[in-house]
């Protein structure tokens, strides 16, 4: 089975090429959509086969080299794939959620002008993401890494006639490039160090982890390398300081937000740290930085989520915040918990985004019917939609409960394990736990705020449109239902021992992380009573958040207004996202532009060309001056001769 690995990325690539080249001629939406969906579904089938073969296999690491890519001196890079429990889990998530979102998109994108273009990009994205996940070396991963960035660019800029879409696309790519700079730097340093010091010239993941022990633990090199890689991760996974592109990325069509900007691409940074866990564990400083950045991002993004009115923006900040949890997990050495949360988040967040898409689709339908141009994404125009869109409502509610961390739903298990590790791990601290727990409370609050504003209370939609908001069709609701079920059940692969579970995912990922955890003595310590107490506290905080949201948005809807009135400054700051975009513009964007203008008009034109033209002018001038000496008048020449003789004589006599 393992020799068929290459088929997994190949199918979507094929689909992308077919739709890209012939989609315009095919025209028929059903055919185009089917080609794309079939492509990714085929990958899903192959992924399943690989996954289950691996599950029963005693050997857990398999590589397949397809061809040599670059071969120069000691540098040998292959087009190669790697299947181990981690990548097997990832391909299942990517192709599984991907297939559902392709199906959903057939309905959602119906009637769009660039229908074929959309599916071409979406397939290309899946190809890139699968290359990222399956690559057996850092370079192939980087192909996927930047490939998903490209597709993200193309899909955010899908409505390219809108300036905001073009801006957001460019911002996403450029900010990601800052991260990629870090990725490259880390890779170069690692390759050079292992090569020149230990004669191990490799970019292969398996070889890197086998030779990780050659790097002095806690030393400068490994700290620098991992910090560089982490910079790459903050770009792709939207962490402080490079998170700013993700909220803007909501300019893309909603299925894109679900697939790329929630379920798969943005988790690439977490995956990358998981893939190189052997290196990261050697750098406690980096681990600490990761944990702090993760926790800070979790609470910071959650705070912004409190005040947004655009349904997709709330979800975007929620994604940033949840990614923060995953990094917190990685930073405290809870690799399994991080990957576990990655998976459950993929289910419930994809469901939430697709649900919001269903709502927007309905709202849009209503406004379109009434010829209105209101904003179909503004929650202030919604309310009471639970009766209009029952399936959307139920699946959305289930996923919201999951993300809020209510026991029994998937998000609870994964989030709770992260919080436990952030407290009890030897890389953790009670402060990390506290920040995480407060952020969990904020999450519960703003997510239920969203649910209440959208589905409960009075319908605030314009009266002309309010009766024309239908439930979405089957291609949309089927994926919602599947993901809704997964949002509930997905957590049961990781029920902790303390609740009587087997924590299957822990054992499943053991071949990937076990060695690292053992060698570096990473463990969570604490009594059972502490663990139970912490769990109870975090549940209580979440319930309190939900209660507060209910109080403010259902029971006493006048409260938010009063609150805003009392804290105008704070509200404005949060609403404007702490002015981070403005600060970045002032610190980086504008000075760079000014520098460019100065180099051009100040240096190029004035200094360099000034010298060049000056030399030209000087030659000109000199020749003009010398021209006068050639006057053609004999008396002038005679005069010059006499003067010359006098000067020479003077030198002779007095010199």
């Amino acid at each position: 089975m393992y020799d068929k690995l290459w088929l997994i990325p190949f199918f979507p690539l094929l689909g992308s090429v077919i739709n890209g080249l012939f989609g315009k001629k095919i025209k028929n939406e059903k055919v185009i959509g089917s080609i794309a969906t079939l492509a990714i579904a085929s990958s899903f089938v192959v992924s399943c086969l690989c996954f289950f073969t691996l599950l029963d296999d005693k050997v857990k690491i398999h590589q397949q080299v397809v061809a040599s890519w670059m071969s120069i001196g000691q540098l040998q890079i292959d087009w190669g794939f790697l299947l181990d429990p981690l990548s097997a889990l990832m391909i299942m998530v990517v192709t599984g959620v991907g297939s559902l979102i392709h199906l959903y998109s057939i309905g959602y994108m119906h009637g769009e002008e660039g229908f074929y273009r959309f599916f071409c990009y979406l397939n290309l994205f899946c190809f890139s993401m699968l290359m990222l996940v399956l690559g057996n070396n850092a370079l192939v991963m980087f192909v996927g890494w930047e490939g998903v960035g490209l597709c993200s660019y193309l899909l955010i800029g899908y409505y390219f006639e809108k300036k905001s879409a073009g801006d957001a696309a460019k911002k996403a790519f450029v900010v990601n490039r800052v991260g990629d700079f870090g990725f490259l730097l880390g890779l170069f340093t690692l390759f050079w160090y292992l090569g020149s010091e230990h004669n191990v010239w490799t970019v292969n993941f398996v070889e890197i982890s086998q030779n990780a022990h050659l790097l002095p633990a806690g030393g400068f090199v490994v700290t620098f390398v991992t910090l560089c890689f982490f910079l790459g991760a903050t770009g792709k996974s939207a962490q402080i300081p490079l998170y700013t592109w993700l909220p803007d990325a909501m300019e893309g069509p909603t299925p894109v937000s679900a697939l790329i900007h929630a379920a798969t691409m943005v988790t690439a940074g977490v995956y990358m740290i998981g893939r190189m866990n052997g290196l990261f564990a050697l750098a406690p400083t980096t681990m600490m930085v990761i944990a702090i950045v993760g926790a800070a991002t979790a609470i910071f993004a959650a705070s912004i989520g409190l005040a947004q009115n655009d349904i997709k923006r709330v979800l975007a900040y929620s994604t940033v915040s949840q990614l923060g949890y995953m990094f917190l997990a990685m930073g405290v050495g809870a690799f399994t918990a991080g990957v576990f949360h990655l998976m459950t988040h993929a289910f419930f967040k994809a469901c939430l985004f697709l649900g919001s898409g269903s709502v927007i689709h309905g709202m849009h339908h209503g406004y379109h019917h009434a010829h209105l141009h209101d904003d179909p994404q503004d929650m202030r125009n919604m309310g009471g939609l639970r009766k209009k869109m029952p399936i959307t409502f139920v699946t959305f509610l289930v996923s919201t409960i999951a993300i809020a961390g209510i026991p029994g739903f998937s998000g609870f298990f994964s989030k709770d394990e992260i919080l436990w590790w952030s407290f009890g791990s030897n890389h953790g601290s009670w402060m990390l736990w506290l920040v995480g727990a407060i952020a969990a409370g904020l999450t519960a609050f703003y997510m239920f705020r969203l649910v209440f504003m959208t589905f409960f209370g009075e319908q605030r939609t314009d009266p002309r449109a309010k009766d024309h908001i239908p439930e979405s069709g089957l291609t949309i609701t089927i994926p919602l239902m599947v993901l809704g079920v997964l949002a509930v059940l997905g957590g049961y692969v990781g029920v902790p021992a303390i609740l009587g579970g087997a924590n299957k995912i822990h054992h499943y990922l053991e071949p990937v992380f076990g060695h690292t955890i053992e060698v570096n003595h990473i463990a969570a310590h604490g009594s059972h009573s502490t663990e139970i107490a912490l769990m109870a506290t975090s549940i209580a905080i979440a319930v309190f958040g939900i209660f507060l949201a209910w109080l403010m948005y259902v029971k006493k809807p006048e409260l938010p207004g009063k609150f805003v009135g009392a804290f105008t400054g704070l509200h404005r700051t949060i609403f404007n996202k702490w002015y981070v975009d403005e600060i970045y513009d002032a610190l980086f964007v504008n000075p760079t532009k000014r520098l460019g203008t100065f180099f051009w008009k100040g240096f190029d034109v004035k200094v360099v060309d000034g010298i060049v033209n000056g030399v030209g002018a000087l030659v000109n001038l000199a020749s003009k001056g010398l021209r006068y000496t050639q006057s053609g008048l004999v008396q002038n020449y005679a005069m010059t001769m006499v003067l010359g003789v006098i000067v020479i004589a003077a030198f002779y006599f007095f010199g």
């Binding site: 315009k24 061809a67 040599s68 890519w69 670059m70 071969s71 120069i72 001196g73 000691q74 540098l75 087009w79 370079l139 980087f142 192909v143 890494w145 930047e146 490939g147 490209l150 660019y153 800029g157 390219f160 006639e161 300036k163 879409a165 073009g166 801006d167 696309a169 460019k170 790519f173 450029v174 490039r177 800052v178 990629d180 700079f181 490259l184 730097l185 170069f188 340093t189 390759f191 050079w192 090569g195 020149s196 760079t592 532009k593 520098l595 460019g596 203008t597 180099f599 051009w600 190029d604 360099v608 060309d609 060049v612 030209g616």
Partner: protein
């Protein structure tokens, strides 16, 4: 025939140029067709070189031809001595590959004095090929100077509004450099004769063996390096390039960017560095600094341009900075990256100039603000433009990535680690200036009424882009085709540059041995 294959390839265009002169003035179309045919034949003549597996195993000179040419007693002797190794092989092929594309791009663009333009194109091709295959330094110099003239006229006659200024600037810059080089060439010859080593004309293979004292190397290297730096162009002697590019007709810009600039980088590789290895070592820190400045400076200035063509021209300064940094890394990765990046730049930037030409022919302006929203009106153009844009940014899977990655990795492994860190920021800036430009030209609403009836690319225009696109992905996904033939030659030349004083005998075949065969 293979005995004189290189000469055939090189002088076939010149022969064609003579024929062009006899085509009646009115038959512009015939002239273009004939010229295209000549360049295509030249390309097919050169194609067998690409399939010759000798380059995979031997890094020396092949297809050599040696004919004594001018000799003045014992004082002066020069020969027609040519040959290629696995490095110049690809530059020869790049030249023969780009020329038909450049000629095809003139179809609607060049209307006045077609005869002159076509003849100059062909003359230029001969000169460029000659420079790449010359193994006699004096012969190289002749071809080098010969290149200057057609390009000067191309800019000066068929150029835009400020063509005279641009042409004169181009001429002065390059002439100053050339003069210094000529003095240095003669001095090297003089020194070689003095040192009593058995030399045959200006054969560089013999010159490689001459042991020049360090302080003399410094002076000679400076002369060569300055001349080549202008051609590359390296910061700060790059200011002729934006003007030359902006004013030159599309075909001229394509040739200039794709091939002529490579003379500078090739000059370092073949002449300046191996002839004066000690001086090279001495100057590497300084020159690498100029590279890094060029990379960042070129990108920042490119970012602020209002004229698309100028933007592309400044991006060349940045890209060529990468090439040179790779060469100065003095290891296999750096060199492979630098050389493949020469080819990449030829393909990607050549394509960008063609793209600028397409919209210029339609709208007769290159001001970015005149455009916007073209993607809707010209979808095929948008797709091709997008691919080339990302190839220029260096997206993995395209050619640009392979080059930049290897250059940076090579620099990182060498002493230039700190330079490499700064140079790596170039990958960020490249995305900024290219994507900003792409957004302003292609995205947004189609507001300008003058753009609302623009036609998408014609079959001819698509045809000339396709070969370039093929190589964007070929080099991106399987660059080994090129590397496997470059590796032996790089190894040998690197040996020469690095190990001159440590290795007593350099394993190259002397010119006389070749002549006696």
């Amino acid at each position: 025939m293979t005995d004189h294959l290189l000469s055939l390839i090189t002088f076939f265009p010149l022969l064609g140029a003579l024929f062009v002169l006899f085509i009646p003035k009115e038959d512009g179309g015939v002239m273009k067709g004939f010229t295209l045919a000549v360049t295509l034949v030249t390309f097919f003549l050169s194609l067998p070189l690409a399939f010759d597996n000798i380059f995979k195993v031997s890094g020396g000179m092949h297809y050599t031809e040696f004919i004594p040419w001018i000799s003045i007693g014992d004082y002066f002797q020069m020969n027609y001595f040519v040959g290629i190794d696995g490095i110049s092989l690809w530059l020869v092929l790049l030249t023969t590959f780009i020329m038909p594309i450049a000629v095809l791009s003139t179809w609607n663009a060049v209307e006045k004095n077609v005869k002159g333009f076509m003849a100059l194109c062909l003359l230029l091709e001969t000169a460029m090929l000659g420079a790449f295959i010359s193994l006699d330094l004096f012969l190289f110099y002749i071809f080098w100077e010969l290149m200057l003239i057609p390009m000067y006229f191309m800019i000066g006659i068929w150029g835009g509004g400020r063509r005279i200024y641009a042409a004169v600037k181009f001429f002065i810059y390059t002439a100053v450099g050339s003069l210094l080089m000529l003095v240095a060439i003669i001095y090297v010859y003089y020194y070689a004769v003095q040192s009593g080593i058995n030399i045959s004309g200006f054969s560089i293979i013999d010159f490689y063996k001459v042991d020049i004292p360090a302080d003399l190397q410094t002076l000679l290297f400076m002369a060569f390096a300055f001349s080549f730096a202008i051609k590359v162009p390296m910061f700060p002697v790059h200011t002729w390039l934006p003007d030359a590019h902006t004013e030159a007709p599309t075909a001229g810009s394509v040739i200039l960017a794709a091939i002529l600039l490579k003379m500078g980088t090739y000059g370092y590789l073949r002449f300046a560095m191996p002839l004066f290895p000690d001086a090279t070592q001495q100057f590497i820190p300084f020159l690498s600094l100029l590279c890094v400045i060029g990379i960042i400076y070129g990108a920042l200035v490119a970012m602020m341009q209002d004229d698309v063509k100028k933007l592309v021209a400044y991006s060349s300064v940045s890209h060529l900075g990468f090439v040179m940094l790779g060469l100065f890394a003095m290891n296999m990765q750096g060199w492979a990256g630098g050389i493949i990046q020469m080819i990449n730049h030829g393909i990607s930037t050549g394509a960008l100039f063609l793209i600028v030409g397409f919209i210029y022919e339609r709208r007769h302006t290159r001001e970015i603000k005149e455009f916007g929203g073209l993607a809707k009106q010209m979808p095929v153009f948008a797709t091709i433009f997008l691919i080339i844009t990302f190839s220029s940014i260096g997206l993995p899977g395209t050619n640009g990535f392979v080059g930049e990655f290897l250059v940076l990795m090579g620099a990182f492994e060498s002493e230039l680690r700190w330079y490499a860190i700064f140079a790596t920021t170039g990958v960020i800036f490249a995305a900024v200036y290219m994507l900003w430009m792409f957004q302003r030209v292609m995205f947004g609403e189609l507001k300008n009424p003058k753009n609302q009836n623009l036609k998408d690319l014609s079959a001819r225009e698509i045809t000339l882009m396709i070969p370039l696109l093929v190589f964007v992905f070929w080099i991106g996904f399987y660059p080994n085709t090129f590397f496997e033939k470059m590796n032996p030659a790089m190894e040998q030349l690197l040996h020469q540059v690095k190990g001159k004083h440590h290795v007593a005998v350099v394993e190259t075949v002397s010119a006389q041995e070749l002549a006696s065969r």
